[in-house]
Symmetry: C2
Subunit: 120 residues, 2 copies
DNA sequence: CCATCATATGCCCATATCGGCATGCGTCAA
DNA sequence: TTGACGCATGCCGATATGGGCATATGATGG
């Protein structure tokens, strides 16, 4: 076995810097592959491949326009991601102060004992 | 060249399901490696490796407690992710009605044809 | 100092990915 | 129909990654 479940979900799709750039660009409206490739400084095949991934996870939709293929944003798939990450919101504020406090406390008095080995 | 910039950022760290689970578990407080491994049904080495990644991107902190190593959450690194994704918030609402409209339109125009076209 | 527990690492294998390149395929213009 | 254009794919090479396993390392209790 190797590399468990990876591809196929938004989390993975946006893990790629270039794909994030594509999504950002698409906020400006639909665009054909070539335009995306040019603006992001990548080759056309590359753009197509990234777009394919984005399409597979449903973050973009395509619309055939003659010989062009207009790609457009479909951000619905980002909502779950936003919510998941949002579940940590209070932690990057509150919880952190607590940790900082904790560290200070530790430095000042090393005899203190951790009381959070809750369960097992 | 192969595989451009990957590891080393929060986006990538949370692309792994198991690592997301670890983070969720850590919201409950610090925990030693073994406990995490057990609760998530993974081997100890695996847990250590994922924790290492999380540590490298700064999402968790370690604290040596005797022979144990207590891992704790440090969600600060998730904030940029939350903000980036949040930049698409208006799109998974507003912008989408437009697509829906488009789809409806499409269905009405050819409602007698199966045409399960869509992607690919 | 020694045995042991708790972790971290190294190594190997299988595979997923990304980039580059050439090519296949569909659409449109003449 | 032919040829150019726009894009999707297939294939190859390099590499990062994740899992499994054995073992090194650190700390603790005797």
């Amino acid at each position: 076995m190797a590399r468990a479940a990876t591809t196929s979900d938004a989390f993975n799709a946006i893990a790629e810097p270039q794909r994030r750039e594509i999504l950002v660009l698409l906020r400006g409206g639909e665009r054909p592959v070539t335009a995306l490739a040019r603006d992001l400084g990548m080759t056309q095949p590359q753009a197509s491949k990234h777009l394919r991934v984005l399409r597979e996870v449903g973050l973009v939709r395509v619309r055939g326009m003659g010989r062009q293929r207009l790609y457009g944003l479909d951000a619905r798939g980002l909502r779950p991601v936003h919510e998941w990450v949002g579940g940590f919101e209070r932690f990057w504020n509150e919880s952190f102060d607590r940790l900082d406090e904790y560290v200070q406390e530790l430095k000042q008095a090393r005899q203190e004992e951790p009381h959070d080995d809750d369960d097992q």
